[in-house]
Amino acid sequence: MNQAARSVVLHGLVIALLVAMFFVLPEYHSGNLARILVLAVFAMGYNVLFGYTGLLSLGHALFFASGMYGLGLSIQFLSASPMLAIVIGLITAVVVSGVIGFLALRTTGVAFMIVTLMFAQAGFLTVLFFGKYTRGDEGFVIQRAQRILFGVDLSQPLPRYFAALILFAICLCLIAWMVHSRFGKTLVAIRENEERARMLGYDIQRHKLMAVIISGTMSGAAGAAYALLFGYAGASFAAVQYSILPLLYVLLGGAGTTIGPLIGTVFMFYLIDISSEYTDAYLLIAGLALILLTLFAPHGIAGILRKKLAWLP
């Protein structure tokens, strides 16, 4: 099989497996999986920038929140239909990531980390500042009646799961396609050796900006989906932890791989969920796991897989 065919088979299998999971898993785990799929979209968005382009952002909570509030506030105050609200959420994410990307990309390296962090922090505080509309840290509930998309009640387990899966599948296919496209390969070139890529004639800034926008929009889509599927928007999602979270997911799963973000999200979610049953100090276990992983599996879980299967995209 050539690379493209392998990629189609692999990603097809992943999606088929996820479809089957809903019918196989007990209610609790399929519920978790719906959430994980949304968070994995967030991680995949992050991966576009970090894993493929080599830009470490500490401000992705802002993009997630852009989608979340774009959707949430338009439902709350404009009585927008869910479909319109999704569109507004995505547009918000595109605009926010475009502006932030345009500004932040004037910097590189650690300065880029800090600038994105600062913008995200300013975004978080802005959500609090406009507490009159956003209800600040408390956030607001999006009622069940407002979450009916094309007559499907997204608060129900089956529609929720498949809505999450459809979003995930779209993003996975987009990324799988991107990886094999000129654009994706150019991003990798920028990650590997920016100056060389520039001297081959590639417009680095334009590619990076595109990467920020794609990454930010995907993260925003995850934020919008989270609000729509789980009925809540709140400022904690704009806080700095939610910028670090996708970084952890991606690093754990394997940066620069298509399925790494999903693996990392699943791993992290269940690490906390399971260890929290045994001890309050589950973050201690999470911390130890992170240290051990960096010591013994520096390229994440997909990195280990890749040693066996070098073709893994």
Partner: protein
């Protein structure tokens, strides 16, 4: 017709004149060598030609277009190619992908077209049997060749090579000289070179830079007999 020319081109670093008021003209189809002692401003000069370095004064014209304020990547896409003095390949990517990245930017065709180009270039630079190797694993000499291959894959009008033979073995140098001869049929070449043997065997014409200014220009024979050049640079050889 001149492919690239400069007028009054200068670069000043806080008082230091790295390149000063250089008028330079490179006709189409020529192999030009740029020589000069260390610190003469050669790399700064080609940096300004390629757009890596912003000039302090003067202008650069490429293919009869003023490119002085044009960013490097646009100059490259107009038909320039550049190899780095210090080897700069995509160390974690395969040899094939290294060249393909260069080819893809220049050729807007289907993957198979790109692939054909990559394979023919790899043949030219003697790397056809190493397509799947990771570039970082190649020997130094092979990495230099790969770098040249990346330039070739862009089918440039002007190919700027910054000390391409540095660190190559004698047989590799011979191979390189042969390569330049073949290339010079379709491409204008600007070569920064320390190895005078290479210069004398490849260049049609030589420009000598000293203290950021053009000291002399002429055919290899003329340069060899120029006394100024001899004192400044060649010494007694």
């Amino acid at each position: 017709m001149s492919i690239i020319s400069t007028h009054g081109l200068s670069k000043h670093y806080s008082g230091l004149r790295a390149v000063n008021n250089v008028d330079f003209d490179l006709p189409d189809g020529q192999v030009r060598a740029l020589i000069g002692p260390n610190g003469a401003g050669k790399t700064t000069f080609v940096g300004m030609l390629s757009g890596r370095i912003k000039s302090s004064a003067g202008s650069v014209s490429f293919l009869n277009t003023d490119v002085t304020d044009m960013p490097a990547h646009k100059r490259m896409s107009m038909g320039m190619a550049y190899t780095f003095q210090i080897t700069s390949v995509f160390a974690n990517l395969s040899v094939h992908e290294n060249v393909a990245l260069a080819a893809r930017r220049a050729i807007k065709g289907a993957p198979s077209v790109v692939n054909n180009k990559v394979m023919s270039v790899l043949e030219q630079v003697y790397l056809a049997d190493r397509t799947d190797q990771i570039a970082g694993d190649l020997s130094y000499g092979h990495q230099r060749l790969l770098e040249i291959g990346m330039g070739l894959a862009q089918s440039p009008r002007l190919f700027i090579l910054d000390e391409p033979t540095q660190g190559l073995s004698a047989s590799e140098v011979d191979g390189f000289i042969e390569l330049v001869r073949v290339l010079s049929k379709d491409t204008t070449i600007l070569l920064i070179e320390h190895n005078m043997d290479v210069v004398m065997r490849t260049a049609h014409y030589i420009t000598v830079l000293n203290f950021g200014e053009i000291l002399a220009e002429g055919t290899p024979a003329e340069i060899r007999s120029d006394t100024d050049v001899q004192t400044a640079y060649l010494g007694t050889t």
